[in-house]
């Protein structure tokens, strides 16, 4: 039988805590596991080790080996068995160790996870969350710094989200777990333990709905839209621009599929200018989709073409070169200059 919910630090902690994104995810997972004993965590090294990024730290100790599974080393197996566990009635949360290792599981994600609900005419639900640490900036070797989210956004049947701050991390992971659809949950790995982002998280009051974008900073001259690790870059750019007297609006997309572009349209209708930022390569990407939809919906409001600041259309470079590849504050401000000067 399932183990009874266990006592934990959740029982004694204050409803408002100062957390990093990594710790917020850890506590969010813990809260989801306490709320529903069908929630199980599976992945490589997620048990005793607590995951290579320690996001699942302490969960196996408190919830047992049948709810936190150290799996064999095969990503198709992780996703494929999670599908079967979900069909059985569990709510599996898979951890893919690094985004570059997700591709052995791509077949199961695309062929089963995304399509079973459609194939079965709604009779088979597969509420699986696939957690994917993604993005660069950690000085790693190949396959440890990529941004493959557009590949999954392109697959009907999947939902794709990315968090950028501790409060969202804490609540979005729980909302993803309680969603009846499969959710690819992209986590900005270089920000996991970033002390600058450490902030107060109200663990008693949820943030808004999961599949909704949010304006993080209001502005009037141009709009920046980003998600995941690029949100911090945009916020920093807006702060720097403010010192030069420019007012930039920053929108955190939060959900990549389905896109919630209402706040972006509303913003662009006011500012007339949009710069979309992402670490992913630009070709056929989330930023391409944003550009297409904004020109369709805001055609007469645009004062300049939608500009994009992205990773280049190359494989992720050796990390000694990643500062050239990754969108940074200067490249974002350069794009803002081009937009304003159009």
């Amino acid at each position: 039988m399932m183990a009874a919910p266990v006592k934990s630090e959740m029982d004694v902690r204050s409803p408002v805590q100062s957390l990093t994104i990594g710790k917020a995810l850890n506590l969010g997972l813990r809260a989801a596991m306490e709320a529903d004993d069908k929630v199980i965590v599976l992945g490589e090294d997620v048990g005793k080790l607590g995951g290579v990024f320690r996001i699942t730290d302490g969960l196996q100790k408190d919830f047992g080996e049948q709810r936190v599974l150290d799996t064999p080393l095969a990503e198709s197996g992780i996703i494929g068995t999670a599908v079967g566990l979900a069909v059985r009635g569990f709510r599996p949360v898979c951890e893919i160790q690094f985004e570059g290792f997700i591709f052995p599981g791509f077949d199961q994600i695309s062929s089963q996870l995304a399509k079973l609900h459609y194939r079965s005419q709604g009779r088979v639900k597969v509420p699986v969350v696939v957690r994917v640490p993604y993005g660069g900036g950690i000085g790693a070797v190949e396959h440890h710094s990529e941004s493959p989210e557009s590949l999954f956004a392109h697959i009907a049947g999947l939902k794709v989200v990315s968090c950028s701050n501790p409060a969202d991390a804490y609540w979005m992971i729980q909302q993803a777990i309680s969603c009846d659809d499969p959710v690819l949950f992209f986590e900005p790995k270089r920000l996991y333990h970033n002390g600058q982002l450490k902030s107060e998280v109200d663990t008693a009051n949820p943030v808004g709905p999961l599949f909704a974008s949010r304006v993080l900073r209001q502005g009037t001259d141009a709009t920046l839209v980003a998600y995941g690790p690029s949100v911090k870059v945009c916020l920093d750019a807006a702060t720097a621009a403010a010192e030069e007297g420019r007012s930039l609006e920053v929108i955190d997309l939060r959900t990549i599929s389905p896109l919630d572009l209402g706040p972006v349209f509303e913003s662009v209708r006011r500012t007339g200018r949009l710069v979309a930022v992402s670490e992913a390569s630009s070709e056929s990407s989330v930023t391409s989709e944003i550009a297409a939809r904004v020109q369709q919906e805001c055609f007469y409001s645009l004062e300049a073409p939608v500009l994009r600041v992205t990773g280049f259309d190359t494989p992720y470079p050796p990390s000694k070169l990643e500062e050239h590849f990754l969108p940074d504050l200067d490249r974002v401000l350069h794009a803002v200059d081009r937009s304003l000067g159009w």
Partner: protein, 402 residues
């Protein structure tokens, strides 16, 4: 018999790597087929001539199969074969887009399917129409897939029969996860325990997902029966293109039992699958069963087997027909008379006529079906796309063109 041990065993006095393993094609084929003619490793209870032969390890699993039960198995096989032939014919008439014949595999599917208890779960590939029948799935509900009006319509949970899986081998991992769930819920360990069976073919054994399914089920002690129907052909590729080793012997490398059963012997398939399921429901899983059978027809109606296999192979397998041996056994043993066989044939014809009637009158799916059930929870973006397209269509209706 040629065996991997012989291929790799060093000559006395030579180092272990002195002889590389490189068996000839003939050696591999001999190994793969060594037990196909009733050798010691092939479990058989009913010979192709209809003679009941003792199988000490498995006889107890079919003690309850009296004349009436055997007549039932015979009827099952005749009905699904008749339905299979009807569907094949309907494809030829353009009423189905494609058909995937099960001809020749009736015993493997009916025997294993009838071994399942109501609480057990089955994960099919896409040829398991006979198993679907044993799970109580209305045969008509399979036909939407092949008339291309849906991707699968039955209530998988009520029938304990998962949707068909077309990508080769995917379902093996899904079944492993499901069986892990049965174990995690504490539903394993006694006579009332649950088990899962997953169906795949000889070609699928080359897939990574099948390997991973073996690994997962083994390390989590999952109550999973791997039921491999080795029908000798993966479209045009023979089993020796998939393996040097008889497939059931692979189980040993993963640390669980593997057994080869005569896949054309419904009684043996029933007995061996019952044994395997009992092992699993009592917590001794997983188990691999290789049902050694033959795909008597094409891979699908789009395939032409005359391009890659000889007709005398087919003729040889006709002598091992899964239905004929039961008919002979029933008749010779006085367990059924001519009126029984006539009645079964009449029932089968009526069954086929009903399928035909149903298929010809199957409604066309409405256009909004394209958008249905993509998500469990609504997606506003998709809703907008749906509304836009339906309103576009309505424009034709208004203009009188739809």
């Amino acid at each position: 018999m040629s065996s991997p041990e012989q291929w790799t065993h060093p000559e006395p006095g030579e180092g272990p790597a002195a002889r590389a393993a490189q068996p000839s094609r003939e050696q591999v084929i001999a190994g793969l087929r060594a037990t196909s003619e009733g050798g010691a490793e092939l479990t058989q209870l009913l010979t192709p001539e209809g003679e009941r032969v003792p199988a000490p390890l498995f006889d107890s699993y079919v003690q309850d199969i009296d004349g009436a039960a055997l007549r039932g198995l015979y009827r099952d096989m005749v009905l699904v074969r008749r339905a299979d032939r009807e569907a094949n014919a309907m494809q030829r008439q353009g009423q189905l887009g494609i058909w995937v014949p099960l001809l020749g595999q009736e015993a493997a599917q009916i025997g294993s399917g009838r071994a399942l208890k109501p609480q057990d779960m089955a994960f099919p590939s896409y040829r398991e129409h006979g198993v679907a029948y044993t799970r109580g799935v209305d045969f008509r509900e399979l036909l939407g897939i092949f008339r291309c009006t849906d991707h699968g319509g039955w209530d998988f949970n009520a029938h304990r029969f998962h949707p068909y899986t077309i990508v080769i081998g995917n379902q093996v991992l899904n079944a492993a996860g499901y069986a892990m769930g049965q174990k995690f819920e504490g539903r394993v360990g006694d006579d009332d325990g649950e088990a899962t069976i997953v169906y795949f073919g000889d070609g699928a054994t080359s897939q990574g997902d099948v390997h991973e399914g073996f690994v997962w089920a083994a390390v989590y002690d999952a109550p999973l029966v791997f039921f491999c129907q080795n029908n000798q052909w993966a479209i045009s590729e023979p089993t020796e293109r998939q393996s040097r080793l008889p497939l059931y012997q692979r189980a040993r490398g993963y640390g669980f039992p593997g057994i080869r059963v005569d896949g054309n012997d419904v009684l043996a398939c029933l007995a061996v699958t019952r044994w395997a399921l009992e092992e699993c429901r009592h917590g001794n899983g997983p188990v691999l069963i290789e049902a050694f059978t033959y795909r008597m027809d094409a891979h699908t109606t789009t395939d032409d087997p005359t391009r890659y296999r000889l007709s005398d192979e087919l003729e040889a397998w006709k002598l091992k027909d899964p239905i004929e041996r039961v008919r002979v056994h029933l008749a010779r043993g006085g367990l059924a008379d001519q009126s029984f066989f006539d009645q079964v044939q009449a029932d089968a014809d009526a069954f086929a006529a009903d399928l035909r009637e149903f298929t010809f009158n199957m409604p066309e799916p409405p256009p909004e079906r394209v958008f249905d059930n993509v998500y469990a929870e609504p997606s506003p973006v998709l809703e907008a796309q749906r509304e836009e397209y339906l309103s576009y269509l309505d424009g034709f209706a208004t203009a009188g063109e739809r």
